[in-house]
Every structure is written in structure tokens, then in C-alpha cells.
């Protein structure tokens, strides 16, 4: 179940971003630490969208920050086009920044309230000395009128428009990979649809590779080619969207899907697939981290941590007792 392992990684030549055995920990006081991410591995092929889904505390946002090296992970490997980012420091790391960009959850907090929209979007080109000519193009591409919008400050915009500015800022440097950390979870349904559609369109237009992180399964399903399910800092299941929704194998994935109201997937009621609440990441359970809430858990789950193994075409699961159909 919720475990680690790297069997699901593809050959290095096929992927643009490859994350291997990522560990992130935070001090929790009194010498203890929060095991936020513990041995997560995944990769993303060029032009692909990888969705990462999980509930709060599963480490998905921490993973995003670790990919950006903000702050760098405690250990593990993050390779962008074969370049090991975790080994870089100072200027060398800074030089890779423009190739990996990020879009944040809170559209308001993500923009400096004292700067004008044009300056916010032009900050990247200012730092790197290129792409200044793309500022207006980017503003237009995200659906803002450069003539009227650029001189305004963020507080004059709605949440959806702020998110558009954020996207323009991330894309103006023409990055290879964009990490979207819950980009629509603070938005209303109608605005969410606008932003999701915009992201899809920009992805095609600029041939982007996306890592799309969200807690909403339906949203992740809509934008992703492959989906990675995380639980308490571990990977549970990785599959194409279709396989994951139609043949969920991991008990946690099944619980997650069954909890979606009107999911329409014919799963048993969620309360029979999961019980209780997530344990503390300071003292995670031994073996499989999901076992304390898993109706299928057996003695081996407490003893041995499951690793990712293949159960079908591009379908991987870390579980001792998966539901394979």
C-alpha cells in the first residue's frame, strides 16, 4: 500500500523530469520531525501532465516545493533533463530556475500587492535579460488585456484574474516544466473551469509539461494523462487516468474515489473502504502507512513496507493486497 519503490520509473531518456526517492522532513520540536515526504519517486515525459492527488498532509505540496528546491529535499534525486538539481548550489541552481516554474494555490498571496501586474510578469525577463518582449503576449495569452491590465495592482483583480497573472509570470520565461500546486482550489466552479481550460490551451500552445497537484480527484482526472496517488508522504498508485478511475487497485485510491459524491463509479460506500482519520506524520505507522485505516490490512502490512509493482499496462501499485481486476 502506501509505500515507496522505483519500479514504475521509465528509462531516463524518455522523461524530462525524474524524481527518485525523495525525502522531506521538518523539525517538529523536541527533536522530533514531521516525515512530510518519505521516498517518493515519479517521472514526467515531455508534453505529459502528471496529476498528483491526495488529501491534506499527504505531502503533495511539499513535494512541489522540493522539486523547486525551495527548500531542497533532505535527500533523493530530482533530475531535470538529466541535470541533478539537488546537487546544485548557489548560482548553478539559480541558472536552472527558469526551466522549472510554479503556479501557487492562493492567487492573492502569490502576487506582491505593491507591484503592478506588468512588473510582476516582467520580473523574470528582468532577471534573465530575455523575454521582455513576451510580456504583453503572455498577458494576452492568459486572457488579460495588456493595455488596461498591466498598469493595475493585484488587489484590483478578482481571484481568477490574479491566477491568470500568476500563470503569465510562470510562462513568460518559457519553462520546460510547470508545477501547478492546487491552482484552482481557491476558485469558484465557473472560474475553475476557465482556469483549467486556459491551462490546457496554454499547454498545447507552448508545449508544456505539467505537474498538476490537487486534492480534487475530478479536477486531476480532467487535466492529467497519468495520476499519482499519495498518502502520508508515500506513493500508493500510479496509472493512466482511465485505469485509475476504472480499475483502482489500491484500497486508499478506492476509498478516495468512493468518497467523491456522485462519483458514479459503482464502488461500495466510502465508509466501508476507509475508517478514522490520518495518523500523525510525526509518528507514521510502520510498514504500510495506510494500514491503520485500511479494511484489508493484514499482519504483513505492519511488518513490511510495500513497494511499487506493476499490475497492468502502465499501472503500478504499492500494496500487499491490491484489488486487481
Amino acid at each position: 500500500m502506501a509505500g515507496s519503490g522505483t519500479a514504475h520509473l521509465r528509462p531516463a531518456g524518455e522523461v524530462v523530469l525524474r524524481v527518485e526517492d525523495l525525502f522531506v522532513e521538518f523539525p517538529a520540536g523536541r527533536g522530533r520531525s514531521v516525515h512530510a515526504v518519505s521516498g517518493v519517486s515519479f517521472d514526467v515525459a515531455r508534453g505529459e501532465t502528471l496529476g498528483i492527488v491526495g488529501e491534506s498532509g499527504c505531502g503533495k505540496s511539499t513535494t512541489a516545493r522540493a522539486l523547486m528546491q525551495l527548500p531542497p529535499p533532505r535527500r533523493g534525486s530530482v533530475r531535470l533533463d538529466g541535470v541533478e538539481l539537488t546537487a546544485l548550489r548557489g548560482e548553478a541552481l539559480r541558472a536552472t530556475r527558469r526551466r522549472l516554474q510554479m503556479i501557487f494555490q492562493d492567487p492573492v498571496s502569490a502576487l506582491n500587492p505593491r507591484r503592478r501586474v506588468r512588473d510582476i510578469v516582467a520580473e523574470g525577463p528582468r532577471i534573465w535579460g530575455t523575454g521582455a518582449d513576451r510580456v504583453d503576449e503572455m498577458l494576452a495569452a492568459v486572457g488579460l488585456d495588456p493595455a488596461t491590465a498591466a498598469a493595475r495592482r493585484p488587489h484590483e483583480f478578482s481571484g481568477g484574474q490574479c491566477q491568470r497573472v500568476s500563470i503569465a509570470r510562470a510562462l513568460v520565461l518559457d519553462p520546460e516544466v510547470v508545477i501547478c500546486d492546487e491552482p484552482v482550489s481557491a476558485l469558484d466552479v465557473s472560474v475553475q473551469a476557465q482556469i483549467l481550460t486556459l491551462l490546457e490551451r496554454l499547454k498545447e500552445r507552448y508545449r508544456l509539461t505539467l505537474v498538476f497537484i490537487a486534492h480534487d480527484l475530478a479536477v486531476v482526472r480532467n487535466v492529467s494523462d497519468r495520476i499519482l496517488v499519495m498518502y502520508l508522504g508515500k506513493t500508493c498508485e500510479l496509472a493512466s487516468g482511465d485505469a485509475l478511475v476504472e480499475r483502482p487497485a489500491h484500497p486508499y485510491t478506492r476509498a478516495l474515489l468512493a468518497s467523491v459524491p456522485r462519483g458514479g463509479l459503482g464502488l461500495p460506500p466510502a465508509d466501508r473502504l476507509i475508517s478514522g482519520e490520518p495518523p500523525s506524520p510525526v509518528t507514521p505507522p510502520s510498514g504500510c502507512r495506510f494500514r491503520t485505516r485500511c479494511p484489508e490490512a493484514g499482519p504483513e502490512c505492519a511488518a513490511v513496507e510495500p513497494v511499487m509493482r506493476r499490475i497492468g499496462e502502465d499501472h503500478w501499485v504499492a500494496c500487499h493486497r491490491p484489488e486487481v481486476r
Partner: protein
């Protein structure tokens, strides 16, 4: 200073244009104060040039004479001209004030920024030193240093400047910390900005205004401190006059010549007051969006029609809301947050109220409960419980109804419980107040309640504080509190929005079970259509403070009539849809409730809108399913809509990607007519719409 967490974020609304004039935002008091400061500075600078007697010229006039044309401030005990002395005293006061601020700023700001931005060890070291510095009794220390080192202007300035450094560090560090944690700083670093550039471009502009504000407050503090030293005779020595010294000199002759004390005091007071005022107004500017000191203009709102109307009481309805309206006066005009909403709920049923933010759904609940916020809010319409009108009840009787017959659960379980009171105390309170239970009985009952909502180890949880529980547990506790006095109606306002999806399922299941066990009615407010479809028996769809469609859940979701409801349904991604399935887009944005469009409030965004929609507001019309009502002149799925817009649009945006056909398999009613939704969905069109509107 530590602040309780969990203050509300600002709602997702656009603001009015920024350039409303700094002048008006700062207010007349600011300009008066700034004017006074400028005057004092000018007088101090030009004191020697002014046509005044020398400050140390004795017997310039008769001693102890009051204000006169010749000596506007009168004379002191030695007959010296007081105005001249006050003017020269201003040099010392302002010189020390400005100098100490500059010194404090120069030393404190870099250290504060460093501590706030670097954090960890740097922060610990700087703040540790700062704590020690703060432990020195500043005034006593200043006295000692000045006394021993010599009472010169430079020494006074240096001591007061150094003593102001800890306060500067505190302030700058605090502000830096706030902004360094914001995501825009992370974003700048992600772009590859160097630390220096991040500090200078991202953090400094945000720290500048609070620092400017504190510069004036600090100046006021320093002027007072210098005055105190001078009063004790430990500032710049005679014959140079100082304000504090003048007041001290005037003291012995206070009875015969009060002006000698009062006039220097007044000048000093006005100067300190002005500096404080300027500082305060500048700080109010820190809120980029809106200055907090702007008084809410109490323009009298148009009173809502007297509730003389008699409504037909529906048979069997436990709760009936009839024509409910809540209007809030704001500086922008009257916001019609709830505008004529009617619905009924029966015992044992769940009614859902669904809408996007700003639709008025939360205000509706508060209005039903009689909890309309703020002064000047107007409420109209009626609320009947078991046929009895609640709107006419006295506050005391309404509280009785609230306590015993209604229960409420709100969105964020983090803020829904009082952070400083134990669960047990909070849970027992309504039992004791409304049911008159004793302390022991209330505790026992509270423990039972916790057990009934599925809280493990209820007796232990009773002794806990809210922050010691998980989000899901907290929401269970708020549900237990809402259920404590056996309510007939449970109002649940977004009860699961802040929760994870697996916990959401548990909480909604719990609410349904409680509803069945207690034969309650449930009013469930949500933005989530899927939640509503799964858990409600009847649904009310709100838009711009009005009901636009309502009816039994199945009928409303399968035979949707109102275009807004239809668009909302198609905008939500569904699990059963394939990857990259296009979503339906709704152009534009919700209307400004202070200035709603004429006619149907959805018409500016509606792809099917025609002339009539912009002129005439549609009433709620019955659909074929009993109880299904919709407010639309050209509803979906009936013959009423002319097919002018079908099939014509290609639904292709500039990138050649089709945006039509958003109806997936899960939507049988919509599945048959993919062409319907295509025409107005061009993306660029939509974006322009989003930006040009309401600006």
C-alpha cells in the same frame, strides 16, 4: 505581538479603482496634522530669522505677563519672550526626534529585515539580543547616561536613538516575517531572483509603509522622552530652551502665570498628537485595498417594504421562508445580498442551497437565523417555524428559538469553536442556558452527545481545547453542539468545504443519520453541486441574491431549466469523463450586488439571453415536475426558446481547439444537444468579457 490565527481572508471580489486620491483616503485630519508638523519644522528652522526677541533676553517684557500682541505667548518669570523660547525649544525637540528616528531606522531596519528574512539562527541571535535590550528601563538608562556623559544635544540624541533601536527591529522583523512567508516571495525565488533582489524588490516595498508610519510614531515617542529628560533638567542645558525645560520652569509660577506652563504644553501636545496622527493614518494605508479608517457612510438605505404582507402558510412545512431580503449599506451603495428568497422545508428532509461565492447563500442562512451583521443592515420578509412568524419576535424570545429549535454548523471548524474554551465548557453552555441543566448533568449530556456523533473517547475530548483536535473531529464537535438542545432544523453552511474528501463523506453521512434519528429538517448550504446532488432531497439554486431555480433534486439535475444551473453543472469536471474533456465556460463574472443588472441578473453572461431578459425580471415559473420552479424567459428543454443560437457557432477558439460539447455521459438531459452550448463559448471572447466588465 502574537495574534490569534484564523482571521478571515478577504473575499474574492474586485475592488474599486485605486486612484481615488490619496488626499481623500488619508482624510482631513492627516493633512491638518502634517500641516502643523510642517509649520513647527519651519519655525524651528527659521527661529533666528523671525522678528522675535532673543530667547535669552530678560525683561523683553514685563515678567509673568499673559499673551499680548507684543508677546503672543506672554513672558516667563524673568520677562523673557515665551514664543521665542518655544520656537527655539522646537529645534531641540525636533532635532532629537528626527535624529533619533534616523538613527533607529538606520540601525534597526537592516537587522530587522535580516532577522525576518533569514530566520532560524540569525533570527534567534538578533531577537535574543533584542530581548535583552528591551529589558533595560529606557528612561532610567537615558537619565544615567546623559547625567554622566554630559547633557549635550548629541548625547541626548544618541541615547534616545540607540534606545529606539529594539522597537525598530521588532517592527521591521515582524513585517518582514509576514511578507517573507507569502508565496510571491517563493515565486520570485523560483524565477531565479537573488536574495538581494528579493529583499529589495519584493519585501522592501511592503515594509516601507509600516516603517514610514512608525517613523512618525517613533518621533512622537522620542519627543516625549526628550521632554521628560528636559523636565528633569537632564537634556540640553540652559540657556538653550527646551520644551520640557520650559514646562518645568513654568511650574513654580503655575498659580499666577498658568500660560507659562499651558502654552508650551499645548505646543508640545499638538506636535506629538500630529506625529501620532500622521503615523496612524499612514499605517491605515498599509492595507492596500481599503483604508480601515474610512467611515462606513451611513447613507440611509431605502427602507424595505413593511412586512405587512400575509403569506400563505404551506401545509406541512416545518420551516417556511417567504420573500426574505437582506440589504447591507456600504460605501458603494446598498448591497442586495439576499433579495426576495422563498423556500420551505419539511421535517425529515434536506434542502440544499447552492451557488457560487457572492450568491448570497451564506447571508441567507444568517438572515433566516436573524444574525444579520453590522449596523444598518435591513431585513425584510418573513420566516415561519411551524407556521409561527419569527421575524416579529423580541430578541429574547428569538434567542430561545435559536437555542432550542435551530442548530447551526459553519464552514470552518477551525474558527467555529472558541479557541480558548474547553470543548466540555462550550458543549455544556447551551444545555445549561436553555435547558437549565446543572453543571454535572450538562457534562454527562455533553459526553453522550460527543459519543453520538462518533467522537472516540468523548470524556477525554471534553477536557480538550479545539486546537488539540483534527479538523474532522472539530466538525463533529460543532455538530454535537448544534444538536445539543434537540433542534428541529439544522442549518449546515458549507459544513465540509474545509475538510478532506474522505472526511467530508463521514461528516455528511453523520448529518444524514442524525437527521433520520431526530426527525430534523436540514438546510445544507454548499457550492459543490455533487455534494448537493448526493445528499439533498430538494435544491435551491441562488444567483446574485435570488433564487433562480428550485425543486426536487432529481428533477432539477435531470431536467434543468435555468441556463445558469445548466452551465454550472457542465462547468464541473466529472470523474466519469475522459481526460482532457472540455469544460463548459461561463463568460464574465457575477454581478456587483450593489448595482445588479436590470431584468434577469444572469442575462449579461447568458448565451441564450434576448432583449426581454435585459428588461423584465423573470418570476419563478413552474416546470412539469411538481415543486420544480425556474426563473427564466427562455428555459432549456422546452419549446419556449427560439433556436437562434443553436448549431451556428463552431465553438472553436483561436487555437483551433473546440470548446463545445461539454455534456458528458453523466448528463442525460444535456447529452442529446451538444450544439446548444457551443456558440458563445469562444475563449478569447470570454476572457475579454471577464476583464472589461465591472471595471
Amino acid at each position: 505581538m502574537p495574534r490569534p490565527p484564523g482571521r478571515r481572508d478577504r473575499p474574492d471580489r474586485p475592488d474599486r479603482p485605486e486612484h481615488r486620491g490619496l488626499l481623500r483616503r488619508l482624510g482631513p485630519a492627516f493633512w491638518l496634522a502634517a500641516g502643523w508638523l510642517a509649520l513647527v519644522v519651519a519655525v524651528a528652522a527659521a527661529a533666528d530669522l523671525l522678528p522675535l526677541p532673543r530667547y535669552d533676553e530678560t525683561l523683553a517684557g514685563p515678567p509673568r505677563s499673559g499673551p499680548s500682541a507684543e508677546h503672543p505667548f506672554g513672558t516667563d518669570a524673568l520677562g523673557r519672550d515665551l514664543l521665542s523660547r518655544v520656537a527655539h525649544g522646537a529645534r531641540v525637540s525636533l532635532g532629537v526626534g528626527v535624529g533619533a528616528v534616523l538613527l533607529g531606522l538606520a540601525a534597526g531596519a537592516p537587522l530587522g529585515v535580516l532577522a525576518g528574512y533569514r530566520r532560524r539562527r540569525t533570527d534567534a541571535v538578533i531577537m535574543g539580543a533584542n530581548d535583552v535590550a528591551l529589558a533595560f528601563p529606557a528612561m532610567v538608562f537615558a537619565l544615567a547616561v546623559v547625567a554622566f556623559a554630559g547633557a549635550s544635544l548629541v548625547n541626548v540624541l544618541a541615547v534616545l536613538g540607540v534606545l529606539s533601536v529594539p522597537a525598530w527591529i521588532r517592527l521591521v522583523r515582524g513585517t518582514t516575517l509576514v511578507f517573507a512567508e507569502r508565496e510571491f516571495v517563493t515565486a520570485a525565488r523560483a524565477l531565479g531572483a537573488r536574495d538581494r533582489s528579493v529583499l529589495w524588490r519584493e519585501i522592501a516595498p511592503n515594509v516601507a509603509l509600516p516603517a514610514a508610519s512608525y517613523a512618525f510614531v517613533g518621533m512622537a515617542v522620542t519627543i516625549v522622552a526628550e521632554g521628560g529628560l528636559a523636565f528633569l533638567g537632564l537634556s540640553v542645558q540652559a540657556p538653550t530652551p527646551t520644551w520640557g525645560g520650559l514646562i518645568n520652569e513654568g511650574r513654580p509660577v503655575m498659580e499666577t502665570a498658568p500660560h507659562a506652563v499651558l502654552l508650551p504644553s499645548l505646543v508640545m501636545f499638538l506636535t506629538v498628537l500630529s506625529a501620532n496622527l500622521v503615523g496612524d493614518r499612514l499605517r491605515a494605508l498599509t492595507d492596500v485595498r481599503q483604508s480601515g479608517l474610512e467611515p462606513v457612510r451611513r447613507r440611509p438605505a431605502v427602507p424595505l417594504p413593511a412586512p405587512g404582507q400575509v403569506h400563505r402558510i404551506e401545509e406541512g412545512a416545518l420551516l417556511q421562508v417567504a420573500g426574505l431580503r437582506t440589504h447591507l449599506p456600504t460605501p458603494r451603495g446598498t448591497v442586495r445580498a439576499v433579495d426576495g428568497v422563498s423556500f420551505t422545508v419539511r421535517r425529515g428532509r434536506t434542502l440544499a442551497i447552492v451557488g457560487e461565492s457572492g450568491s448570497g447563500k451564506s447571508m441567507l442562512i444568517r438572515s433566516v437565523l436573524g444574525l444579520v451583521p453590522g449596523p444598518g443592515a435591513l431585513r425584510g420578509g418573513r420566516v415561519y417555524l411551524d407556521g409561527r412568524d419569527l421575524t416579529g419576535l423580541s430578541p429574547e424570545r428569538m434567542r430561545r428559538v435559536l437555542g432550542t429549535r435551530f442548530g447551526a454548523v459553519f464552514q470552518d471548524p477551525m474558527t467555529a469553536l472558541n479557541p480558548v474554551r474547553r470543548i466540555g465548557v462550550q458543549l455544556a453552555e447551551p444545555l445549561r442556558v436553555h435547558l437549565g441543566l446543572g453543571a454535572k448533568a450538562a457534562r454527562a449530556r455533553g459526553t453522550e452527545l460527543l459519543a453520538s456523533v462518533g467522537v472516540p473517547e468523548p470524556a477525554r475530548v471534553m477536557r480538550r481545547y479545539p486546537h488539540q483536535l483534527s479538523g474532522g473531529m472539530r466538525q463533529r464537535v460543532t455538530i454535537a453542539m448544534a444538536l445539543s438542545c434537540g433542534p428541529d432544523v439544522l442549518f449546515a453552511d458549507e459544513p465540509t468545504t474545509a475538510l478532506d474528501v474522505t472526511v467530508q463523506d463521514q461528516v455528511l453521512r453523520l448529518i444524514r443519520r442524525q437527521r433520520e434519528e431526530r426527525r430534523m429538517a436540514v438546510v445544507l448550504v454548499s457550492h459543490d453541486l455533487a455534494v448537493v446532488a448526493e445528499w439533498a432531497d430538494e435544491v435551491v439554486v441562488m444567483y446574485a441574491g435570488k433564487v433562480v431555480e428550485r425543486g426536487p433534486t432529481a428533477a432539477l439535475f435531470e431536467r434543468t431549466r435555468m441556463p445558469y444551473t445548466e452551465a454550472l453543472l457542465a462547468a464541473v469536471p466529472k470523474l466519469t469523463d475522459p481526460a482532457h474533456h472540455p469544460l463548459r465556460l461561463i463568460a464574465g463574472r457575477p454581478p456587483d450586488l450593489a448595482d445588479p443588472p436590470a431584468g434577469c441578473s444572469f442575462h449579461p453572461r447568458c448565451p441564450y439571453a434576448r432583449e426581454r431578459c435585459a428588461v423584465e425580471e423573470p418570476p419563478l415559473l413552474p416546470a412539469e415536475t411538481p415543486g420544480h420552479l425556474y426563473a427564466c424567459w427562455y428555459p432549456r428543454d422546452t419549446g419556449a426558446r427560439a433556436p437562434a443560437d443553436t448549431g451556428s457557432g463552431t465553438g472553436t477558439d483561436s487555437d483551433g481547439r473546440g470548446l463545445d460539447g461539454p455534456c458528458g455521459p453523466g448528463r442525460p438531459a444535456a447529452a442529446g444537444r451538444p450544439g446548444d452550448l457551443s456558440g458563445p463559448n469562444d475563449l478569447s471572447d470570454l476572457d475579454e468579457g471577464a476583464d472589461s466588465r465591472g471595471r
